[in-house]
Amino acid sequence: MPVKVAIIEDDNLMRKGLVSLFSSSEAQNENIDLVGDVGCEEDFIKLLKTVEVDVLLLDMNLNDVEDAGVEILSRLNKNIKVLILSSEAKDANLILKSLKCGASGFLDKGIELEELFFSIKKAKNGMKPILSDRVSGTVVEYKSLEIKVGVESLEPREKETFKLFAAGYTRQEVANKLYVSVKAIDGYKSQIKGKTGFTNPVEYLMWVIKNKEILISEIMELYSEKEKN
């Protein structure tokens, strides 16, 4: 089954260019199918009435509204995987906000075509976060994460909680998974806060991204497990 992709991009030249890239033999070889291209959220909602979309490629700045992508992201159906495509790769807060609002990934427009196609397929398979090199570079340099350490000192249960939250599980889901009450989970969370200083799941996730090799494969597994349910 081909991956069904849609685009929201307001710049005409870029939009028509992307459409032509997606009709190239490279895209067909990758089994990627463009089902629609629109210039704004309104038209995308209309598009969704006629076609099914697996992965949405979303331009971050639309019609001169900076960060418009984040707003759209928070309103979209969570079944659609969203890849942000942005000119800006240096804004850690924006990247963080996008992931928090449910984006599967954040790519800058400097990436190669091959990476774009590869990222689309990863997004379809439920992987996240998918970050381009420049974007993950920004996360690695993200200052406020530098002083916060202590993930290693978490007790096993706290660490499980940490990983599940980082993988996007809700409080209730974490509780179910660990066979404890939500109240107990809140207790673990405040322990995590005390030891690491992290106050929310996005910070957990950012820590994992920043410390690439640690925990990331486990988080990935939890993601795909969650996707199946």
């Binding site: 030249l13 032509s20 890239l21 427009k109 075509l113 774009l116």
Partner: protein, 241 residues
């Protein structure tokens, strides 16, 4: 018919490859591979490459790998090469900001044929490439015209630029024929075409032109255009939107 050889220099690879891919659907263009990466900031090396490629039209991004005036530096490197005298350059940029007025003026002074926004219509891009190939200048997106027409001053505006904008409104002193010449210059029409439209010979044209320069206290065609825009003189410029 000779194909128009086009190259595109752009740091955002996906943008560059997307636009090139679609340009290749037009059989009157011969579009080379995207120029991208570190060479965009090796301005002399880039100029060497352009000499080798023997192209007709260069599409050029303004901000190159986070260097805000990277495009200007490329233009300066091109200017130094005799072999590139006939190369036409179109600046293609995402958004033009009012604060970039000086940058735009600078590019005009060095010698670009026009500025296109990435929100321009696709057909307009195609038309513009053909037009600049044929010697047409001053092809602008509406946003560029608005910026050039604004009297915005930022803190690093140099004194020369301020002088230039204080030029008194002497347009009324021009004769009817001089106004026609003035208008054709602003429209960026190639000189041979100007003579044809005015039905005059080169010598007469030069007389009109030196009168215009004297009356308006300007020295070149770029200042002529800026004079028109800053004083709100209706010029029917080729607009892209």
């Amino acid at each position: 018919m000779n194909k128009i050889k086009v190259l595109y220099a752009e740091d955002e690879r996906i943008v560059g490859r997307a636009i090139i891919n679609n340009l290749r659907n037009y059989n009157f263009f011969d579009v080379g591979d995207l120029i991208t990466g570190d060479i965009l900031n090796e301005y002399n090396e880039l100029a060497d490459l352009l000499v080798k490629e023997k192209l007709d039209v260069l599409l050029l991004d303004m901000e190159l790998n986070h260097v805000p005036d990277g495009g200007i530096k490329v233009l300066e490197a091109i200017k130094k090469r005799k072999e590139l005298d006939n190369l036409k350059v179109l600046i293609v940029s995402t958004r033009y900001k009012t604060s970039e007025k000086e940058l735009i003026k600078k590019a005009l002074n060095i010698g670009v044929s026009g500025f296109i926004g990435k929100n321009a219509d696709w057909e307009k891009l195609v038309d513009s490439i053909s037009m600049v190939y044929n010697g047409q200048k001053n092809i602008f997106s509406q946003s560029i015209i608005d910026i050039l027409a604004s009297n915005f001053h930022n803190t690093d505006t140099n004194n020369d630029a301020k002088e230039e904008e204080k030029v008194p409104f002497n347009y009324g002193l021009l004769t009817k024929k001089e106004k026609e010449v003035f208008k054709l210059i602003c429209q960026g029409i190639e000189k041979k075409m100007r003579l044809m439209k005015l039905k005059i010979v080169s010598k007469t044209y030069e007389t009109h032109w030196s009168n215009i320069k004297e009356k308006l206290d300007i020295v070149n065609e770029v200042q002529c255009l800026l004079y028109a825009l800053e004083n709100g003189i209706e010029m029917d410029l080729k607009s892209l939107e």
